[in-house]
Subunit: 281 residues, 2 copies
Amino acid sequence: MDKKIAIIGLGLIGGSLAMALRGFEDYTVVGVDRDESTLACARARGAADVVTKDAAAVLAEADVTFLCLHPQGIVDFLSEHRDGFKSGSLVTDVCGVKTAIMAASHVLPPEVDFIGCHPMAGKETSGIANADKALFTRAHFILTPRTSSRAEHVALMERMAAHMGFRDVVKTTPEQHDAIIAYTSQVMHIMAVAVCDNPDLFSCRGFEGGSFRDCTRVAALDVPLWTELFSLNAPALTAVIRRLEDNLRSYRETIERGDRRALADKLEFSAARKRRMTFEE
Amino acid sequence: MDKKIAIIGLGLIGGSLAMALRGFEDYTVVGVDRDESTLACARARGAADVVTKDAAAVLAEADVTFLCLHPQGIVDFLSEHRDGFKSGSLVTDVCGVKTAIMAASHVLPPEVDFIGCHPMAGKETSGIANADKALFTRAHFILTPRTSSRAEHVALMERMAAHMGFRDVVKTTPEQHDAIIAYTSQVMHIMAVAVCDNPDLFSCRGFEGGSFRDCTRVAALDVPLWTELFSLNAPALTAVIRRLEDNLRSYRETIERGDRRALADKLEFSAARKRRMTFEE
């Protein structure tokens, strides 16, 4: 019998994962969702080899299960189905915070492995209708294995990442992940929404350049999802926001003082950091 | 005799304008620069119909003159060559601030027209080597005509914009331009450099998503140019930075309080503004 990968939740990320995983080695990809219209769309788009509503039946046979739900949905699903996963199987997820998810995974019995996962990709639209098997091309695939995770499960995750087109696989701890992601992803979303709160937003048409379109692109975010993600990572995120406020204030005060020499020095410092970052990529 | 367009300064913008203007109606495009290696590169790339070092000779015959220098360079050039422009000709520029440039243009004699111009395009690299005739595709072409500017000169600017591939022509006052540009362009650059000042910059490799790459793209900026642009627009820019600091602090305090309902309300407010902005584009 073929091996099975179960994708629980066929939203943008789950749907895209299912599409990108089709044809991986000798695995059958089974997509699971409880919403009828999502299932119909997934079927119409050929998002998975099999599409079904029956999570319990799929879990009992799945060798790998991807939990592609909102953060609280993942926590609840793990708790509800703790005894329903196939013995010896691997469970993973796609959540943008990892400490809370890794903690929740401890409800699983010892014979079920769990490796936290964060595919660093997304877009401003959600749902299976916007899923895209090319979504992960050149993106980072971040893993937070348990110390007890089986080596063959880590290797399996790496082979799946390569099949889906990810640029690389990065292994880290949940705590390190959450601290860094507050900077590289969460605060980018906070900046984008903060920029859109400016009263000039609707009078600036005709004056936007590439930098404005790029920065505000992610502002039309999935509100319930990001409310959870920000709240679950509040200490790291608020520290990064505070540092950004400080850096902006420092630039503002330098410009207010009219000290062009100091402004040029500050810009040279920052621009050199960016060039070094880009150069070393 | 053919009509002539003079491009003074063959950097990224001047070089790209020269390339994009070639073939416009019956005009000859003459590129002017005082740097020998820039002239050699412009010749090698076929950036203009004619390339020369002799600004004075070109100005005397040019029907349109684009000043593509740094802000202070434009001010100095206008002052130095005030009596050298062809009578009845049009002088324009490409500077990212307009109030200071329009004021400086009053050194010109009354028989020389001046229309301020800001092509809303750029990239993170500078110089003729990076010039690209497609740089302006789908960008906004902003004009700040004088109240006394001749209608046929405004119409000529519009035809040139269409030839170069701009998406539209937006006419406004210098003061309105500078207030709005502080928001849509200048503060985006301040955010990008402020983000790069975070001490985690070099340890975040492997954790960047599209939002991080997009936001920091413009941080490797041309320091002397942006020092001038920020300084010449200090009151408008510092007001926008202060508002952004306030909006970020408001988000931070909401997250610190742990009030998920209030956070969701704030995110919904901002995301709806972004969606409305995008929808109405």
